[in-house]
């Protein structure tokens, strides 16, 4: 699945936001590296950007059943990328 997503992203078949969202949903909070490691740096940027505005205390979309990434998935991704980038 990761190979399919990355290939589609690099070919311009999906956006950076799309690959970011698909990947967040796949993250096992105990092993975020399995999903995050193969991603290009700009997708890591997109994830950090999403994590910075992610606030589960805010109301979720009402119009339809939209599956949001879970808080532990977003937290695990933020921590892993931040650690990767720390000197």
């Amino acid at each position: 699945m990761m190979a399919t997503l990355i290939k589609a992203y690099k070919a311009g078949k999906i956006t950076r936001y799309q690959i970011m969202m698909e990947c967040l949903h796949m993250i096992d909070p105990q092993h975020p590296e399995l999903v995050l490691e193969p991603l290009p740096p700009e997708v890591h940027d997109e994830i950090l950007d999403y994590a910075s505005r992610y606030d589960p205390k805010k109301p979720a979309p009402k119009e339809r059943l939209v599956l949001m990434p879970a808080a532990d998935q977003v937290d695990a991704a933020r921590s892993w990328i931040t650690k990767l980038r720390s000197p």
């Binding site: 699945m1 589609a8 311009g12 999906i14 956006t15 936001y17 969202m21 698909e22 979309p61």
Partner: protein, 155 residues
């Protein structure tokens, strides 16, 4: 008038069962009145890429909490285009090609006008939600159904 929530009839498969290439699909859509803007790209859904059973095509779906502002550039791929993934089955029916391409172009043109200067997630939800009568999504189905009716000579 009750706005459409999907195709008004089953699309006829191509008589010879022929599956169109993407280039042929662009030509067929244009021949039947779909004006595909330069900033839009259609691609066949890659094998293994998930898509809901009741979807024919998809582009970026936003999953944000209320109040988040969506910028137009979030709709765009690395080439600055809006990419749509089309289910492979669509390519086996010229009617499906015209309807799906027409629907997506109609919808994204409306969204572009709305999101050019950015807009909140609530606006995107309201306009693209399948069960919101009269919104952009249902108007796009009205348009798509009218294109197919014209192909059949009944409009």
């Amino acid at each position: 008038m009750i706005a459409a929530q999907g195709p008004s009839s089953n699309w006829r498969p191509n008589p010879d069962g022929r599956k169109r290439t993407m280039r042929e699909a662009y030509d067929i859509a244009r021949q039947h009145g779909v004006e595909i803007p330069d900033y839009v790209e259609f691609h066949v859904l890659p094998k293994g890429y998930p898509m809901a059973v009741n979807q024919f095509a998809k582009t970026t779906e936003f999953r944000e909490f209320d109040g988040t502002v969506i910028q137009w550039d979030k709709f765009l791929n690395q080439r600055g285009k809006v990419p749509f993934l089309v289910k492979p089955d669509v390519m086996t029916s010229d009617e499906a090609i015209v309807a799906v391409f027409g629907h997506e172009v109609f919808e994204i043109e409306c969204l572009r006008r709305r999101f050019d200067s950015n807009a909140p997630i609530e606006a995107w939800e309201a306009e693209t939600c399948p069960n919101n009568e009269g919104n952009t999504h249902s108007q796009a189905w009205d348009y798509a159904n009218s294109l197919v009716a014209r192909m059949r000579g009944v409009a």
